[in-house]
Each structure stands twice: as C-alpha cells, then as structure tokens.
Symmetry: D2
Subunit: 268 residues, 4 copies
C-alpha cells in the first residue's frame, strides 16, 4: 500500500508538495462586474445537461476579480506569490429544477494553483492575464475613489490575445447589486478519459455546487458599463458577445469554500 | 441531453475551445538528461502503490525538454504560442510486476495546455520556467555544436524559485543512451474528490501507461554532468537530491501518443 | 529635419507609441518597508561619486511597492495593463554636501514602461517579479487589516531566482515612519557609450534629484521585521545583506513627478 | 572619485551586476522574414532625420528572430535564462547619403537585457512575447523540415495584444535572400532629458551604425508569405500595415557586435 499523501498531485509522504492544499480555502477579492445579455440561442447552447434556459433569455455577466486566498492549513498569505491571483470569467443564467442558478462556461486565471483549484470546483479555467484598475486607501489622483464619477477598467488576455475588456463609471451605491451574478453557481466537474477507444466517455462528469460560508460583501456601487469580447484562436467565448450591455458594479467580496455537493451525475 | 463537445473543458457546441484537443498528439523535443542516484529510501518513498523499488537502489534521472507538439486535428504548429513548451522532470526507477519501469514524481512546465495534457497522462505538472542551451544549424560561437567539448546548461524555476540546474559537457556518441530513462514510464492519474467528507477518496486514482508509436531518436551524445536541486516553498523534489551524479546525455526525440492503458486501479 | 515625436523611442509622427509618455507622472502605491543596517564598508562601496557615507554607517532600507501610475496626458488608468506595476528596491543612506540623502543601488520591476521610466530618473532597474500581501476594504480572514498583529510578506524574484524576502508584523501606528527612507533620494542617470574605444566613457552620467509635488501619505504602521537577501547569478545586491534588521513599516503613498534637477555632472 | 564599475547600471565595485555586460556580444538566431511594401507616405513618415525615402517606395520587412547570445566575458550560455530571447521587428528601407540602408522603427523583445542592449544600439525596443515555429534535427511530423512545402508561423504579442502574425510556406532555396533586409541597418540612439523645461531636448540623439564581424548565414529558403499587423493601445506599428506582401524567407544567422560608429549627430 502506498503511503503517498496530498490533496492533489504531486503526492509525497508528507503531502506538502500538493499543487492545491486541501480545503477549507479562504478568499477575498475586488470585483468589477458587468451585467449583459447575449444572444439567447448562444447562451442556451452553452448550458450543460441538467440546466434549462433562464426566462430572461440571454442573461449573462462578465466578472473581473482581483483575489487573495489561502488554505486553512497553509502559509500562503506570507508568501504572496502563492496567494494572489486575478481572473476573468463569464456566467450564463439558467434554471436548475426551476430555480435560478448561474453557470460558468469560460474563465481565465493567472496562477497554476488557482487553475487546478478551479477545475476541482467545475470552473473550466485556462491561463490568462487579467488587469483591473485598483483603489488605494489614500486620496490621490492616481487611483479612483469608490465614488460617483470614478472609472474602472478591466482587461483579460490569454496567450497574447485580448479576450475581454470592460469599463465601468460609478454613479451611486447599488440597491440590488449585480442581479446577473446573484443566483448560486453550478458548474460541471469534468476529467476526460484517455483509455483506448473511450475518449468520449469522461471519467468525471457531474454537475456540482460549492458549499461555502462566512460570505461578506462591501457596499456595492453601480454605474454605466461598456463590455467587449474579442475573437482569439482556440477560444469561443465570443459566442456570448453582448447584444445589450446592462449595468456595471464594483465591490469587495470574501468567503470560505469547504467542499461541494454533487447536484447530478451527467451521462456523456 | 447536453450537446456540449470537447475533450476537456471548456466544452462548447463545437468543441473548439477545449484547452487540450483530443489525441493523437505529436511531439518532438531536444533533451538534456542527467542520470543520477538519490537516497534509496527517499526514492522508494515516492513510489506509488503498485510499484516496487528498483534493485539499483535510488536510480533516478533529471530531464530538461524543449518541446514542440500539436494535435492531429489541430493547427498549433502555425500558431506556435500553442505548440512550444519546455519542461523539467525527475524520474525514479522501479519495478512493476518484476519488470523495470520509471515513474515521474515531480515535473514543471511553462504552458497551460501542456500542464493539463500532462495531468491526463499522469504527470503531476506544476507551472515553471525552463531554459536549455540551444543548438543552431550553423557553425557559430554563440551556440554549441553537438560535438566533443560542447557544454549545455539547463535550469528550471517555479514561482520565482530556482528548482534545478544541470550542466553537461559532451564527450562522445553514447552507446547506451540514458539507462535511467530507458524503461517505460508509468504514472498515477489522480483527480481528487471535493464532496463533503470525502477529500481523502480520489475520484480518479489509477496507475497508467501511455501508448505511443512512431518513436524516433537522433544520435545520443554523452558526457560529464553536474546536477543540483534546490529547496523552495511548497516543493519537495529535494527529497531526490543527488547522492551521486552519473552521466549526462543530449539528443532529440519524437513520438506520437494515442491513448493509454490502465495498469492498476489504485485504492486510497 | 525629422518630424518624429515622442518622449522616448519608438518615435513616430504622432508620438503616441513612446514607451514612456512625457511627465508629469502621477503615482500611488502600497509600501512595505524594512529599515536595516548593512556592512558599513559594503554600503559605502556602492555610493556614487558625489555622495559621502552617512554617519550612521551602513544605514539602508528595503522597499516593496505595489504601484498604480499614469501620465498626465494618458489613459493608462482605464487600460490597467499599462498602469499597474510592482517593484522592490534597496536604498543606502548617504550625505550630499553634508545633508542626508538616500540613493538606490539595486531595483527590480515587473513592467517595461516602469523599467525605462526608472532609468530616466536614475533608478538602475532590471525586470523582476514582486509580490506583496494585500489589504482589502472588507473585514475578512483572507487579508490582514492594518492593525496590531497583522502580518505582511513581500518577495522579489528575478529571472527565476529569489532576490529578497521580508515579513513585517504590525504593532502600532508609527510616530516617525521609516527613518531610513525619509531623506530625499538622489540617483545616477547613466547611459553608456557604444562608440569604438569609448565604452568606459558614458554618454550620460549625472547625479540627479527628481522634482515632485502633491505628496500624500496614509497613516504609517510599524512593527517587527525580518529581511533576507539571496545570492543570484549576475546580481550583487547581497553586498547589502543585513547585519541588523530594524523596524518594518506599512503605508500608502502618492505623488506626482514633474522633472528633475541635475545635482552634479559626474566624470568617468 | 567613485570606484563604481559596470557597462550599464546597476554599477558596483566589481561591475558584475550590470544588466548588459560590455561588448563584444556574440549572437546566433533562427530567422523568419517577410518582405513587404507599406504605404509609401507612412514608411517615409517614420524615417529619422538624416535618411531619405528609398526609391522603391514603401519597401519594408518583418522579422521574427529566435536568438541565443552571450557576452565575450560572460557565462550566459550555461545559464540559458540569460542567453535566450526572441524578438519581432519591422525595418523600413531608406537612403543615407544616396546609399541603401534600413532602419528599425518598431521592435519587441522578451528579455530585459536584450531590451536595454537594443536601446544602446538604437533599436526602440519594448517588451513583447514572440513565438516562431521551430525546426529540430530529427525527421518528425511535429516539426517542419527546411524543405519545399514546409510551413512556418510567427506571432508577436505585447502586453496581451496581438501585434503581428506571419506565415511562410517554403518553396525552394533562395538565390537572393531577403532583399528588403539586405542593406546595413542604421538606427537612432535616443535618451531623453528629464531636466525641467527641456523634455524636448534629448540628451542622446544620434544616427548610428553597429560594427560587426564574423557574420555567417545558413542556406536561405524562400516561399509564399502572409503578414498581418494588428492595432493595439499605445502602439503605432500599423502605420506600416502591408499594402503588398512579397516573399518570405527562413534561415539561420550569426554574428558578433563590437561597437558602433556615429553616422550623424541629430538635432532635436
């Protein structure tokens, strides 16, 4: 019997080399969100088995997040090369057994541990570079305040191709926050099989919902928004190119992820 | 029923956004290899269930590879940001049912598609940066020839920490090639479970061997070698720190991977 | 006569491709600073012509800065890939005509525009990667508050080698701030000559002091500090390896740079 | 008098931390070149003072180079993170005192030492990522041979924006090689002044020509070519967008740069 330990590979006798330490994982991030509508058929075409289109057809959101995270048993906060990361993702709204949910068809992130930790939660992450205008806790002209008239930009690129770009001009505190990202997110955990003749029969294929706690959110500001998605080789996120751009939102959000529940086992 | 396609996530109606296109995958790479011996107990401690220690206790190799690859249905060679990558890995020699094999406990690579394609084949990849002295098809002082006296260097870093460094001085064509990398490689495909209370029960956990064909290799040169492995936060490859450094090798190798066979299902 | 415009190369008819737009440049950054003492002889050996050793022999500081900046005529804040950057640098304390000053012998930064903008101000920048623990404007366990007991880490790497690492545990608001970074900074602008036989006769070689305005600083917190500098190929910052580590500081700072004054023309 | 040494900053008592070691510099690289014609007025508008338009109006070339280099006194070849780099550049053909020359208005490179070494020779380098299809010294389907029908791709991106892309299909050995890159290259060394009120009066501003020796070139192959230049924020290379794409070329080239001669001092 092997004595190898570790939540993920690489596995060793101590388990300390694991790319992702075991949960709980604690997160906090600055968010720039743009609610928008895509072509309804395109949005529906990206829903995994088990989800139905949302009645507000084509409802989507684009999210830029500037994260810091650590694992409960870990020391990542003091070695910030292992705690900082930024990501960009799109969500599509849907129904699961008649209840509103969101699901993430496309996402890019700038660190390996976050890429794999995402795969484990059903986020289909690729590597990308993400940049978002920052605030600082000082009155200065080199950073926007969280205040009316302030402008924030976000950009995502992957393998040297621009993927997405957004701009939000804050107007006022938001009463609702981003409606398009409000429902719980359900994703597909998927790990393909490489065995001969069975490449179409994934070894892991299930609809899941993360279980989290200690959710906290700052006041949310909203305002006018712009959003563009760009074609790139090997990418298909422009299926969700906006047909209408709704409001933009800026806030800070933190939570802890413990584990997940499997909503449905999916067939091929 | 969902109509989403794609060998890996992200999955779409066309399947074209998949981070890794389906096999066959065609590869060619320049290799700098250093055969060495690690502490026998340390080497044995890293063997997965199903493998027994090799009688030449502690037999290992360090490999720097400068790759180009593409998928049979893909166009990566003409968009070389999707075909080039470099990696560094260590192998430990072992026995599987009495037959010599190798297994890879640690590996770093510089592209996302190669990281995930590695996980699918049981290589426990993390992101890293790898550099290897190149040859050029021109007589010049700015590149070594494949000839006696030529010196090649390799270096691997990850998240800003030096992981490994090697130097090889070519002496003559090699009669044997690298003995320590000669046996077939068997690895552990591993994908953890995140469901509540079952983090110790991986969803995929199996010993596998890739099935390949069309293997080609250039003449192999060998010579004196140096190898150093360096401690780094969150890494444990220095368990295999050399106790004796054997010969170094330089060659070019190409092959095609079609799929794999599962050697053993592993229990937890 | 050419009609090419631009503060730096590349120069074009419009001037818009210039790697660095013309000043004024507006900056804001989060700072993690460690005051320390190096070997007095080593510190003195790094002083450029025109500066004398400080009476508090070996007085130095290490600075991690997480910046956002833009040019007065530019739009960098809305394309944050052109406004964000992080850097790590060391300063040595000295006297200029009997008055206390600091000077920067070593600095690493993660963006090209910041590298060149630094050279123009006399900062001897190389590329590196810098990470610093962040705060967020939300009470959360995933980020330290600016409060007693909070711990912050900083790390700098360059070309895959760890350069420096620091940790600061906040204790209380600081009455003095960082004494070792308080004096004005004077640096050497240097641009070598490549003309035959004159490689030792730099074309630009002058001691300069930036002229800035609108300086603002947040409350400064201080506490116990750790600092390590690491050897790396092609680097010599470990000349300043700490012989005593003093206090650490955390604050946010903003200012505007307009231009500079030449303090002294230096001979070879 | 200061005892600081070093061809560039950072300068130290030993001079070993210099970002660029002193020349001679030895180079070898694989080249993918596309001769093309741009709009004649646009090409002429980018010529520095001292150069006149070439009679073949709008004659330009695009060059992807995959380099390895070292400094005569240095050990970069054995620490290949300091010897490898890739770059993409454009040249415009012109006349200098009636003789054909080329000049480089735009160039991107992926390493800091190469960026600064370029500035010293008058190349207006910015950071970018460059990828070029590789050959290997092995018959394999994963790499093109230097032979009729082989296809090579090149791509340059900068700060996440695609800058340029080329494809060349080899047809036959070339009798002429790339005519558009054949003349000697003259560039503008430029280092701006930051002193108050004199931002328009560069401190270094001169037309220069590198002095090199030991030039070697492999057989050159040529074939049909495609070339695209893409708009990006803060970039103006699309001024040279092709109006006609001529032939493409593939070869290996090596040389040694010793120093330069100043062709003309330029006024503002």
């Amino acid at each position: 019997m092997s004595t190898l330990q570790g939540y993920t590979v690489p596995r060793t006798p101590s388990g300390r080399a694991s790319l992702v330490p075991p949960p709980p994982w604690h997160y906090v991030g600055d968010f720039l969100v743009v609610d928008f509508h895509a072509d309804p058929d395109a949005a529906a075409s990206l829903l995994p088995e088990g989800l139905e289109p949302h009645p507000d057809a084509g409802r989507c959101a684009a999210v830029f997040a500037d994260w810091q995270s650590y694992s409960e048993g870990g020391d990542e906060l003091l070695d910030p090369a292992r705690s900082h990361y930024k990501e960009f993702y799109l969500v599509v709204n849907a129904l699961l057994d008649g209840e509103p949910v969101t699901t993430c068809p496309f996402i890019w992130v700038d660190q390996d541990f976050a890429l794999v930790r995402g795969w484990l939660q059903g986020f289909p992450k690729k590597l990308g570079d993400v940049w978002v205008t920052r605030t600082y806790d000082l009155e200065t002209r080199a950073a926007p305040a969280v205040a009316a008239g302030s402008r924030f930009g976000g950009v995502c690129t992957a393998r040297g191709n621009r993927i997405a770009q957004a701009r939000v001009t804050l107007e006022a505190p938001s009463e609702t926050g981003s409606v398009h990202t409000d429902p719980p997110i359900v994703n597909v955990r998927h790990f393909p099989r490489l065995a001969a003749g069975r490449h179409d029969d994934p070894q892991v294929h299930e609809l899941v919902r993360s279980r989290s706690r200690d959710r906290a959110v700052s006041p949310v500001w909203e305002g006018a928004a712009e959003l563009e998605l760009f074609d790139a080789p090997g990418e298909e996120h422009t299926l969700l190119r906006p047909v209408a751009v709704d409001r933009g939102y800026r806030f800070t959000f933190g939570y802890t992820v413990d584990d997940l529940e499997t909503v449905k086992e999916l067939v091929r």
